[in-house]
Symmetry: C2
Subunit: 405 residues, 2 copies
């Protein structure tokens, strides 16, 4: 299998080879997953086989094979307070094998085959890599990456109906996750040996643990009381330098803006597996509220098929709230709302099913619009660099029930 892995998909064209020195390095990794496939790996392989077999049988019967994908458009999205995330509707788009669709049909099957191969060999591909792999598919090659991305999204949507995410299909995101410190032990497995590895997130001093791009294999040990998801690296840095996580027995995660898939999935698994609440601490502006927080909590509308994995329904909003600007006398440390802020806030009120279903949020956003200002989390530094640690967070954390939903 190791040999197979290094073989270009298309025999006809041969790659330039390095010398003997390189060959000797080729055993970098045992082929196949150490310890064999797990339950979800098998479900993935079976789902792919089943789909492919159905197509094959139909062709055998001289019928027109068909693949039915969920529609990924916003129009096919619903929000259910109880489920707590945007959900795919029943909308489907059929792709039937015809003279016109033969190429995209073939590409879909080739991409599924690549996915199966990667599961069997315990490998993965980024979107970019999957696109380039196709360059050796002859006629079926993708001309541009947006084509392969769309094809991958369809496959992801299809298998999401079976509870499989893109990561289970071994298509990993380019970006890894955010930085983590605190009362947490992450249990990962060594990619080579499969042995489990314990990572103690209290041991990094001024540094941190970087969340890997795929977190499906992670397990956790923690007695932490909550996860604090922080918007800016600067604020995360301060809380870590002051060992806030030690004094409040919590876990700090730096999102650095809108959290990546890996960051959201990591927080979700962490909160699910250990039944701990998640508090979001972001700027008080429409971007922090309706982009960063909303994406963390319910996922994003145009990727509804993956929200079931990549959202954190148990998250609540610690701050900075519009009311905090008044309660903590931050008025002279605010900035006027820009047109883009106002537009974003009004869109949230008018079009976003999440905010529409939570009266507290509508009230808060309307208050923000009335005040006409926004405040960054660092605005608290007006009262001293560590005011946020000595006054703001302690006060807020005494009333977690009052956090915005």
């Amino acid at each position: 299998m190791a040999a197979k892995k290094r073989k270009p998909a298309n025999e006809s064209e041969q790659p330039p080879r390095a010398g003997a020195a390189a060959q000797s390095k080729k055993t970098a990794k045992k082929a196949g997953k150490p310890g064999g496939l797990d339950k979800l790996d098998n479900l993935t392989v079976d789902s792919i086989d089943e789909t492919a077999t159905k197509v094959f049988d139909t062709i055998q019967k001289r019928g027109k094979p068909e693949l039915s994908f969920p529609q990924r458009s916003l129009a096919n999205v619903t929000y259910d307070k109880k489920i707590g995330h945007f959900k795919l509707g029943r909308g489907r788009k059929e792709r039937t094998l015809t003279v016109n669709t033969v190429k995209s049909f073939a590409q879909t099957l080739k991409l599924m085959a690549l996915s199966k191969e990667m599961v069997l060999e315990d490998d993965f591909a980024t979107k970019r890599e999957a696109y380039y792999i196709s360059k050796n598919w002859g006629e079926a090659k993708f001309a541009e990456q947006p084509e392969s991305d769309a094809c991958m999204d369809d496959i992801e949507a299809l298998f999401s109906l079976r509870g499989l995410s893109r990561e289970h299909l071994r298509f990993y995101p380019e970006e890894h996750g955010g930085s983590v410190n605190g009362e947490l032990i992450v249990i990962d497995r060594d990619p080579e040996t499969g042995e489990s590895v314990r990572i103690d997130c209290t041991t990094f001093a001024s540094g941190a643990y970087t969340i890997p791009s795929s977190v499906e294999q992670l397990r956790f040990e923690t007695k932490a009381k909550f996860v604090l998801a922080i918007e800016t690296g600067g604020m995360w840095q301060r809380l870590n330098a002051q060992k806030f996580w030690r004094n409040y027995n919590c876990i700090l995660v730096a999102m650095s803006g809108v959290p990546t898939r890996a960051t959201r999935r990591f927080i979700r698994k962490l909160a699910d597996d250990n039944d701990i609440p998640v508090y979001a601490f972001v700027d008080c502006d429409p971007y922090g509220i309706s982009n960063i927080y909303r994406t963390l909590k319910v996922g994003s509308g145009n990727a509804a098929h993956l929200n079931q994995f990549f959202c954190v329904p148990q998250a609540t909003f610690l701050g900075v709230t519009p009311q905090d600007i008044i309660d903590f006398k931050l008025e002279d440390a605010t900035h006027p709302l820009l047109d883009v802020d106002i537009k974003r806030a009004k869109d949230a009120l008018k079009n976003d099913p999440f905010f529409q279903s939570h009266k507290e949020w509508r009230t808060a956003i309307e208050q923000l619009l009335r005040m006409g200002v926004r405040a960054e989390q660092q605005a608290l530094a007006k009262w001293g660099l560590n005011f946020v640690i000595d006054e703001y967070l302690p006060k807020k954390l005494k009333e977690t029930k009052k956090f915005l939903p």
Copy 2:
């Protein structure tokens, strides 16, 4: 001192206080640096005192106090192959205390005072925080952050003449550094206790070590043969998953685009302290070459005063080179150069002292322009996901002498 730290700079306005619960948490951290100030801390404090005293004495003598800052414009920048980075020229701008300059003069001194206070109390501030701190300076408050940023740049430039960086002044960047795996032990100090902490970068499985935003306090233990600085998180992920660093006894650093200050400083210290070479592995396009690599190697022109700390003169360019596109048959995995690529490449040839002083680079960039295409590092996946590990890197690493300068 702990109390002082929590006191707003301006007595007149009092901050809202949290309850007793908060007070009890206030000892989160001992005031002052555990183990006292080090040599550079003292140099920083002395430099600030000296500057302030000179101003004070001049005023006592009823003279016009003056501060002389290096000009930070490109016009005041030179490149010296031997030194290996962009360098500040002799250009200076004087700021004399007059009725018109009194405010900016006062702001400069207040910011220096904040810096001294932070060194003494072992604290730090991001640019954002420093701006908000000023909101309690009464008349001397900054109206907008760009004002405080510019003021901070002047101070940084001034003290850079004494070999001090912004981090020594305790102004830390918002962003932390990239992700690190490999044959390296990082020795940091616990921010609370000052005890040294050992971080073994071979123990993160699929995760990684995040470089802190300030790395001045770090020390290293390593027998690694080289540092591989990688442009994309995706490629870094693959090399880590295959434990490339183990098989090649090296250290992997993910830059994720143009490397942050912290990432550049980390690589520089690592390479200096342990005398190991740094190889850059980025996309073959004008952005990867003239933005990412050039910034890593010689720093950025418009921040010349800090390049002496934040560049990596020992870095060389492993690839992807224009010649690699031919040698590794990547033609059909390339993209046409966009206008912005062509403009960037021509600017590099025409205006960039670094590329002008290296014939090999001029030849390579001209070749790229003739070919009219660019190639991402993932283009190598055309030959199989792990072709980069099994063929490309081994072949390149056999001829490090041929790397572009």
